[in-house]
């Protein structure tokens, strides 16, 4: 099992979610976060004073999937979240030791 984490542009969340759902993914968690990468934030002007806003709003999407689905999910997110402009975000994959469904206590792939 793998945890797939993607940091994406907030307005892309629905597109990514719909693409994942149509590929059979049944659940995910989204968090509003702030961050910056090479894009390096943006500037805002208030009463003539220009501020560099480093941390810009992003959405962090997390989902745990079976090994066999990893490539499909990564590809789906990458395509759906892309605007081909700087600031589109990142996807990373990490190993997951255990997963437990709280309601039933079942463990492993059936708990996904």
């Amino acid at each position: 099992m793998r945890l797939i984490t993607a940091v994406i542009k907030p307005f892309k969340l629905d597109e990514v979610k719909d693409a994942l759902k149509s590929n059979g993914i049944t659940g995910m968690t989204a968090t509003e976060v702030r961050g910056f990468g090479r894009q390096g934030g943006h500037t805002e002007t208030y009463r003539g004073a220009e501020y560099q806003i480093d941390f810009v709003p992003k959405v962090r999407l997390e989902l745990v999937v079976e090994e066999s689905q990893v490539d499909m999910v990564v590809e789906t997110i990458q395509q759906a979240a892309s605007t081909e402009k700087i600031g589109d975000g990142k996807i990373w994959v990490t190993a997951v030791d255990r997963i437990i469904r709280i309601r039933t206590g079942e463990e492993g792939p059936s708990a996904i």
């Binding site: 002007t45 009463r47 003539g48």
Partner: protein, 403 residues
């Protein structure tokens, strides 16, 4: 003169309109501060509705409008004694109520300059002493028939000098004593909720109809002129600000539209019942452009007027007070004088300048002393850690927004 029900109704409604401006100002300012200070800002504004109303009924009205002195009144109306009769065509108490709302909002204007660092207890003392030593006497000078500025022949329809120059320069004095915010100039301090600021602008603009047109103290053609002037100056102020902002900084901003409208409203305040025709458009537009230009003063002289009270209220008040010397017309109001452009010569312009300078100098000096005394006794400013934590938690043990 017997009491006129129409006049009375309008002044009573105007009192309520002006009252509404103070929570409007709270939201106007509250949106511009960072989120951890928003309750501190709202509280400072609405607290003025509490403390200043009490002071007004206790001694304020009497100091401003009792007796026959040219500098201050007397104590004949302490706790509103002997106010049962009529003033002109309205009950004296209608005038007391209307003027009470002016007294409430004026010290609250200062809070925009001292945002995020003024200790609440110090603020309570500051505005109380300020009302007693500065606002009540200056209101006397400007609006009472015995007041020296009034007798000199200077005009101030609804408070260009008495309110906006007065509070604006007081804000400067307090800022010079309290110092800059931690991180000023090095950390971004963007407004946390501009929708609040737009909401506050709408409330201020709405209430300003009562502020200016209520100052006619009658439901007559001067009041109607004041409504039109007030609205047009706000509109032209917005356009003037947006034009120069877009040219200088690249975008027409929401905050710019709100600020420009308020700048226009400030500048038309002294003029509202004395000018007509295209004058409010000219006055509003000049204020929109010059108040925007005045934003640069604080960085040039390195004082942290956090929400630009000086650029908008002090400069806007000066613009309106001086321009009235040019645009006043007795065709609009027989009770006024003609300005330079309407055949009155330079006399009114000189009187207006004297009034502006006198209020500016008196308010600055006395406010500076008050602020210094508070600072060296109880302390004007919160501790550094309290400033970092935010006024909401450090001063009031509350949070505006629960996570």
């Amino acid at each position: 003169m017997s009491i006129d029900t129409g006049d009375t109704a309008w002044v009573l409604i105007s009192a309520a309109l002006v009252l509404f401006m103070t929570p409007g100002l709270a939201f106007f300012y509250g949106g511009m501060v960072r989120s951890r200070h928003v309750l501190g800002m709202l509280m400072q504004n609405i607290f003025s509705m509490g403390i200043i109303s009490v002071l007004w009924s206790a001694v304020g009205y009497s100091i401003a409008f009792g007796g026959e002195g040219s500098l201050i009144g007397d104590f004949s109306h302490v706790f509103l004694a002997d106010t049962a009769g009529a003033s002109g065509s309205i009950p004296t108490l209608a005038f007391v109520a209307f003027q009470m709302m002016f007294a409430v909002i004026t010290p609250a204007l200062i809070t925009g300059a001292t945002a995020d660092r003024l200790k609440f207890s110090a603020y309570a003392v500051l505005i109380s002493v300020w009302a007693l030593l500065v606002y009540f006497p200056v209101a006397r000078w400007v609006w009472n028939e015995n007041g020296w500025i009034f007798s000199m022949g200077a005009l101030d329809f609804a408070g260009g000098a008495a309110i906006h120059i007065n509070a604006g320069v007081a804000a400067l004095a307090v800022v010079l004593v309290i110092g800059n915010r931690i991180g000023h100039g090095s950390e971004p301090m963007p407004p946390h909720n501009l929708p609040y600021t737009v909401l506050g602008t709408g409330i201020l603009w709405f209430g300003w109809m009562g502020f200016n047109a209520g100052s006619a103290l009658a439901a007559n053609s001067v009041a109607a002129q004041a409504v039109v002037n007030t609205h047009l100056a706000a509109a032209a102020g917005m356009l003037g600000w947006l034009l120069i902002e877009r040219k200088r900084a690249g975008h027409a901003t929401t905050l710019g539209a709100a600020s420009g409208a308020v700048a226009g409203l400030v500048a038309i305040t002294p003029c509202a019942g004395f000018v007509g025709g295209a004058s409010p458009l000219i006055i509003g537009a000049i204020a929109g452009v010059l108040c925007y230009a005045a934003l640069g003063l604080k960085s040039k002289f390195n004082f942290d007027d956090s929400l630009d009270v000086i650029a908008v209220h002090l400069i806007g008040g000066i613009i309106g007070t001086i321009l009235l010397g040019l645009f006043a017309s007795t065709d609009v109001n027989e009770g006024g004088f003609d300005g330079l452009f309407y055949g009155g010569g330079a006399e009114l312009l000189i009187d207006q300048t004297v009034a502006a300078v006198a209020v500016l100098a008196y308010s600055f000096v006395v406010t500076f002393i008050i602020a210094k005394v508070i600072d060296s006794t109880m302390g004007l400013r919160v501790e550094a850690v309290a400033e970092r934590t935010g006024l909401d938690q450090s001063q009031h043990a509350e949070s505006a927004y629960q996570a």
